[in-house]
Amino acid sequence: MSEAREPRIVGFFCSWCTYTAADLAGVSRMKYAPNIRVIRVMCSGRIDPQFVLKAFACGADGVLIGGCHPGDCHYIEGNYKCLRRFRLLTRLLRDLGIEEGRCRLEWISAAEGDKVRTVVNDMAARLRALGPLDAPGRFRDWGKDLEELEHAMAGEGPGESSRAIEPARNE
């Protein structure tokens, strides 16, 4: 794991509002943190919580969801569905050891290019403070036990990992 790796943010932006706002920010030549990779979806209501978990599992340090302001959804209700899922998903993520600031929901209308800049900059700064999540690295740790077993089977006697659970006083 490199020490100073920049945080990676995956953005899921609604095509009608936030994605258009990001376009506007670009056309207006606004500069903002280059840490975000944006995926355009037709509606924030299309964002399956699986997308968010998958992003983290694949190495994202943060996920930014962007949708239309309440009442402005092109499909009437999509952003409310997104909000309800987000509320429960935030709790699920917290229980899975993922800090609250890593998954963020923002309402950004097509006219708010400047808000895209502010939010992305702010999120990049917060993630830098939190440090990398590095889920893939943690999954690699899963394999360590197995490697130790293989060594132990190849050699003789109990595996190295016994050290870790040994502060026993059975003698």
Binding site: A57, G97, E100, D141, I165, N170
Partner: protein, 343 residues
């Protein structure tokens, strides 16, 4: 050993499991006799007297099918899984724990030290004045007693060895087991990786299907033990968490018939990668409110989303368990929730 017209050899083994999957075999009732006629059971420690060396003595690939239930938590379980993999043509992950990690994989929310500390010290029923802990090798005189290693995480079977087929359920029903055996002994095997159960959501075969509203709108989620329940109405229409929409069918709605909502033991269908996230999505989006406060109060009826949505499948979920605990050098910057409060 004279072995007339060589019946196919079958092995059954259990790992981190409760024994319920073994019960499923016994629940075949008289059906078990025809199974015994059709196959030669070469290993089934729960019911018959076999030793590990009996398996080791077999040629590689000599077993037609090995049915393994239970998750993998210890080095012994893993060694047995690998041994049976080598000796078998087909390995079946039998039951929710082998398929998805099952209830034992909820332990992935805690690290090894937390678990050992609770079991050997903090649990209110523990008396352990010496503070004894398990050790992998204990020497007395010139004899050494050994115990398997307790791994840091709980894994589903296919996170340890290659698995050919899956039979879902906690436990699988005798009907599914019967069908699976018939499939395994036939000449035409389904494609590798197949889950030997229907590939539709439970709602499709739910006896309360007709009462499920077209457009679900939940005011507030209620917990089954704290609320009177209608005996015929769709659970979701009553605001009771039911995993039916995100769970594979094949159990024929056993829990529903027993007047309890689905808790998700059959795992996801083939079109869903993460059952818990899908269930969360389906349930949360059907909440009625539009304001934060209303939404929060409706969702307060789901106090433990991980335990609710990943009850049988945390090991095979996208994040596999609590992400923050695997690295010990990383400070717990967020609320961890003590064991006590979760039990």
């Amino acid at each position: 050993m004279p072995d007339p017209p060589a019946k196919p050899k079958v092995a059954l083994y259990w790992c981190a499991s409760c024994g319920g999957c073994e019960e499923a075999v016994v629940d075949l009732a008289e059906g078990v006799l025809s199974v015994l006629n059709a196959v030669d059971i070469v290993f089934w420690p729960v019911a018959m007297d076999f030793k590990r060396r009996d398996v080791e003595a077999l040629a590689d690939g000599a077993i037609r099918a090995a049915l393994l239930n239970g998750a993998i938590r210890t080095s012994e379980q893993e060694e047995m899984a690998r041994l049976l993999r080598r000796k078998s043509q087909v390995v079946v992950a039998f039951g929710a724990c082998a398929q998805l990690g099952g209830v034992p994989s909820l332990a992935n929310q805690f690290d090894r030290e937390q678990i050992l500390d609770y079991i050997y010290a903090q649990s209110p029923t523990v008396v352990n004045d010496q503070g004894a802990r398990p050790v992998s090798a204990y020497r007395e005189g010139d004899r050494v007693a050994t115990l398997p290693e307790f791994w840091r995480t709980t894994r589903a079977l296919d996170q340890v060895i290659e698995v050919d087929y899956y039979v879902p359920g906690c436990p699988p029903t005798p009907k599914l087991l019967g069908q699976a055996l018939a499939t395994l002994l036939s000449d035409e095997l389904p494609p590798k990786g197949t889950v030997l159960a229907p590939d539709t959501a439970l709602c499709e075969e739910c006896p309360r299907k007709d009462s499920k509203p077209e457009d679900l709108s939940v005011k507030t989620f209620k917990r089954p033990h704290l609320t009177p329940m209608d005996a015929a109405l769709c659970f979701l229409a009553q605001g009771i968490v039911c995993m039916g929409p995100a769970t594979r069918s094949g159990c024929e709605g056993l829990c529903i018939q027993g007047a309890m909502p689905c808790t998700g033991c059959f795992g996801p269908t083939s079109r869903v990668r993460d059952q818990g996230a899908k269930a969360l999505s389906a349930l949360a989006s059907s909440v009625e409110g539009k304001e934060d406060r209303e939404i929060e109060s409706a969702l307060a009826g789901i106090p433990d989303p991980v335990g609710t949505f990943y009850r049988y499948g945390l090991a095979k979920s996208l994040l596999r368990g609590k992400v923050g605990h695997l690295c010990s050098d990383r400070p717990e910057s967020i609320k961890t929730g003590s064991m006590e409060s979760r039990l």
